[in-house]
């Protein structure tokens, strides 16, 4: 509602004056535009500070596949068997990825080229990112698809329209094609329906929306090869199917109730039907489970329900930092005032309970739980938290402005005729406690404005400081405060790309697999896809064995080069020596000859003189510290002083028998060794 100007204004301005609806549209459009602009430019920090490049690990695979898609077309992409990864097994790329992201980027690229915008596919990929520009990951389109599906589904529930639920099925299809997180939708929506059923909010609208969305969404999802028949065969999707049948029972009961006029008879019938339905469902589920037709829950799903599960059973999942439970500090860091506004928003949702607000509440609560279990799922929770907090802010500001305006109305009764009777009555109530309320409201409004502006600056700061580093290029402050760039990763990958045979096989820890194939264009033994635990364990075993034993493993895998990441010179702490215990654990999980205690001294992980003998002579130690004993890293420290761990290394006289140093980058971050051919016997 506009506040009409009381004072006389120029006729000219009056003639340009907009109607209420137009004013609202103008304000809405301009606010949204400002939000988009801010959201866009905060994401550009990494591009401005570094360059337009792909970040981190997984995005490199996505980029490589997108490049393949744009160069070779969709059918080749869909049938792509990648010989360059998981040597000698290979990977069926088309059947083991979610193609939504790549197809979206390729489509944008095609459209831009059709309109004759000669952009490079890399630029499209860099800007198709969920967080900052460059992190070209599935979440980039998946978060949008997730919210779009939810929006359409709630719209379908509100209207009961087939068109909306059809649209939400397609939204769901897009989500399935984009990210494995679609399991969240296929469990949250049935849960929501169940809650509506329990709270007695069953309606024909709900029936139409859910049935159409579920059946069509399921059929569409089956078109994605990676998902296949999981909707009918996997334990994680059974809740949706159960709710689907439950809805049919509800509908049937409704019909019977309509037909039977006798309440008593209906009650008896209800009891029998519900019991039968539940029993049949339970038996079907049990049979499916027993016969193996329905697969049990996967480890990843378990680890969401029980955060300690991965630590004990799946070291590969536990070894990834983004799969760790979220720390309180990072909640505070990321959400700032939203953490306090979130409960307030929930309160306002409960206050105005409707089908839609129930959904928001459920989405907020479940995603908040998942965000607590796994760091990376904060991304899923963020939209919900923003939404709920926005409801809180909006409701607060609205109430406060009502207070303010009600006083104004008292002055200028003549100009506002159409005020509702309820507002008039509230005005009467408010008039009794006037000046305090008015001033309080103004103070509170300013407070809210202050908080929101603080929040915006905090978010910009967080984006710029914490999330804008590409992690391929490392930056540090030099001695004179100048910025020093460590571009060692690309130096090594480009060396591999240019100066090794095109069919060379590179062995490294799986973290660097995607980068080596994308930037180095060479075949790797294992990569970030981590689908074959045994293969990764073999690499872990080679890294943690003595050189003579490791060479046997490497020869059996046809390894030509070994790549290790070493931060001892620069003080870069996420290097292979610090990841080494995970290699031992994962290797030992499959090959019991590798035992974690052999590498520890009294349960302590050391690399200096007091380290365990197995540690000092295993392949990883030798490759990282080869000839490091001659190196002076820091003034006033002995040669061979490891800056990442702050100790002088324990084994300075490292001899390599079967490998030779092929390349070391300028800051020693990446070291590449060549496997020598076997000695001639004659």
């Amino acid at each position: 509602m506009p506040i009409l100007p009381n004072m006389p204004v120029l006729d000219l301005v009056k003639s340009f004056k907009l109607k209420t609806k137009q004013q609202e549209l103008l304000i809405r459009v301009s606010i949204l535009c400002l939000v988009y602009v801010l959201a866009f430019i905060t994401r550009l920090f990494s591009v401005l500070r570094y360059e337009s490049m792909i970040h981190e690990f997984d995005p490199y695979f996505n980029y490589r596949t997108t490049l393949y898609l744009t160069q070779n077309g969709f059918y080749d992409f869909w049938n792509w068997f990648d010989y360059e990864s998981w040597y000698p097994l290979g990977r069926i790329v088309g059947g083991t990825l979610y193609p939504g992201l790549m197809v979206t980027a390729a489509l944008i690229y095609r459209i831009l080229h059709f309109l004759r915008f000669a952009v490079h596919i890399r630029e499209v990929c860099v800007l198709t990112a969920p967080s900052v520009a460059g992190s070209y990951d599935n979440e980039g389109v998946a978060i949008f698809a997730l919210l779009f599906t939810f929006y359409l589904f709630v719209k379908a529930v509100n209207t009961g329209s087939l068109a909306w639920s059809l649209a939400s099925a397609f939204g769901y299809f897009y989500m399935v094609s984009a990210w494995g997180g679609y399991v969240f939708i296929i469990n949250l929506i049935p849960l929501y329906v169940l809650v509506l059923l329990i709270t007695g909010r069953y309606s024909m609208r709900l029936y139409v929306a859910y049935n159409c969305m579920y059946v069509l969404g399921m059929l569409l999802a089956m078109q994605i090869r990676f998902v296949g028949f999981q909707h009918v065969q996997s334990g994680e999707h059974m809740a949706a199917m159960g709710v689907f049948f439950l809805l049919q029972v509800f509908y049937f009961l409704d019909w019977v109730k309509h037909m039977l006029s006798d309440t008593k008879l209906f009650q008896a019938f209800l009891r029998i039907t519900v019991t039968c339905a539940v029993a049949v469902g339970a038996i079907a589920l049990g049979l499916g489970m027993l016969s193996g037709y329905i697969s049990p829950w996967t480890g990843r799903f378990y680890s969401l329900l029980d955060p300690t599960y991965a630590k004990d059973h799946i070291p590969i999942i536990a070894s990834v930092s983004e799969h760790q439970p979220t720390a309180w500090s990072s909640f505070m860091f990321d959400f700032h005032i939203l953490l306090f506004l979130f409960p307030a928003g929930l309160y306002f949702c409960f206050k105005r309970l409707s089908d839609a607000t129930i959904f928001i509440v459920m989405y907020g609560l479940t995603s908040m739980y998942f965000a607590g279990v796994m760091v990376r799922l904060i991304l899923v929770a963020t939209p919900a938290v923003c939404l709920v907090s926005a409801i809180a802010v909006s409701a607060t500001v609205k109430n406060l402005t009502v207070l303010l305006r009600s006083k104004n109305k008292g002055v200028q009764t003549g100009s506002t005729k159409g005020s509702s009777s309820s507002k008039a009555s509230s005005k009467a109530l408010l008039d009794q406690s006037q000046p305090f309320q008015k001033n309080g409201a103004i103070a509170l409004l300013f407070g809210a404005f202050y908080l929101l502006s603080k929040y915006a600056t905090h978010c910009t700061w967080v984006t710029s400081e914490a999330y804008s580093s590409p992690s391929i290029v490392l930056a540090a402050r030099g001695a004179h405060g100048s910025r020093v760039i460590f571009d060692d990763y690309r130096e090594a990958y480009f060396w591999l790309r240019q100066n090794t045979p095109p069919d060379a096989k590179v062995m490294s820890w799986w973290d660097y697999g995607y980068q080596i194939t994308a930037m180095g264009n060479r075949t790797v033994i294992v990569d970030n896809n981590t689908w074959n635990n045994t293969h990764i364990a073999t690499v872990g075993r080679a890294m943690s064995s003595y050189e003579d034993e490791a060479i046997e493993i490497m020869r059996s895998l046809d390894v030509d080069y070994v790549l290790v990441v070493f931060g001892g010179v620069t003080g870069y702490s996420s290097d292979d020596i610090n990841k080494f215990l995970w290699m031992v654990r994962i290797g030992g999980g499959v090959f019991p000859v590798i035992k974690e205690p052999d590498y520890l001294v009294n349960g302590e992980y050391r690399v200096d003189k007091g380290a365990a003998p197995k540690m000092l002579n295993c392949l990883m130690y030798k490759l990282c510290y080869y000839r490091f004993g001659e190196m002076l890293t820091e003034y006033g420290k002995p040669p061979g002083y490891d800056r990442a761990r702050g100790v002088e290394i324990g084994n300075k006289d490292i001899k390599l028998e079967h490998l030779e140093e092929a390349f070391t980058t300028s800051n020693w971050i990446v070291r590449i060794y060549k496997v020598k051919p076997p000695n001639n016997r004659w």
């Binding site: 490049m53 309109l115 571009d487 690309r490 480009f494 240019q498 000839r627 300028s666």
Partner: protein
Amino acid sequence: MEAPIRATEFLRFTLLSLLFFVCRSSPSQDLLISNAERRIDLTSHIVKVYLTLKVENAGSTPTSEILLAFPPTQVDHLATVEALVTKGKRKKTTLARLDVKPTELPDAPNGTKYFTIYLSNPLNSGESTTLEVLYLFTHSLEPFPAEIGQSESQLVYYRDSALILSPYHIKQQTTFLKTPSTKVESFTSVEPTNRAGTEMKYGPYEDRPPYSFSPILIHFENNSPFPVVEELVREVEISHWGNLQVTEQYTLVHGGARHKGVFSRVDYQSRPNLNGVSSLRYLLARLPPRVHSVYYRDEIGNISSSHLRTDSRKSELEIEPRYPLFGGWKATFVIGYGLPLQDFLFESSDDRRYLNFTFGCPLLDTVVDKLTVKVVLPEGSKDPSAVVPFTVEQHLETKYSYLDVVGRTVVVMEKKNLVPVHNSPFQVYYTFKPIFMLAEPLMLASAFFLFFVACLAYLHIDLSIRK
């Protein structure tokens, strides 16, 4: 009395043989070279030969064509031949450039290849003139051993002849060779041969008949890196809005002795004078003045190790590859920069426009095996024609860039085996109507206009069926 008869007989014989040669349309016996001095510079990987010839017309007819002969193995590596003639007498000498063209002769012995120098004024009988000839060879130093370790120095072979190959009789000749260091492993001796410091002297040799040849082999140390650009594509895009955008794609390789075995960073960093002396650490590119928005990147992103120094006359871009290049190691990269258009685009007298730009590779002291220069003319340009001071292969292409409808005409010029001497200006002429400049802004403006009209229409038209 015998002697005069013999003399006349000899004269008759020579005359006969001369006649015989004239009939075979070979002009060689008319001319002779009274003095030849050759200086071969072996200090870098481009072999520079300076040849001073004193040519005498001993025949009776004036001639204006002088032949240079090259063995077929050298001709493949010959990048350029230039000839200058000294004019004027004593103190007022000036140098004038002469035309040099490859020539085929039917009776060339052992596949000898020829170049003809065309004198501006015919050389009359009995006259003599002094020619300065400069020619350059690429890929003529053969590393031996072909593979070296990181701490070894690079040794190369150079093959040539102690005598200058020529279709003419040479009365007196000397050859000087300059090696980069005093370290010479071995050399063929053709008496008289002297070596002092970095210089070797073959000769003087007196009265050698045509096509004399005496192969020599010199094995010496040459630790300079051999930067070879296997392929260079330069794209020059003209925008009449005031910018000239240049994009250069390099495939660089170190053409010296191949690297063998270990690359040890610790040795390379701590003893740079002993380790990897022949490695290629950085390159210098000389760019035009007033260059802006320079970038240096490759397929996987920006390369941060580069420095740009500019002054009013030139710009120098110092680039380091991501890693030092040892023999046989490769690096591909792209350099791009913008230039103000008014420095390079001019209007010719016949109302056409022409671009005046430098052919060749801006990297100093590099050999380019294959160069492609693409001049992208603005959309709507017509009748392109290129003027290049040497022979190049030419064709036209079409390129689509931002907001192009009919595409831009691209003049493509290709040349093989280039050395820095080829960095000479060339021109591309074309006609262009300035009205075409407005096409793209108008398209964008109309697109936005239509968008806003659509928004207006959407807000004002009620499309619902129900009222």
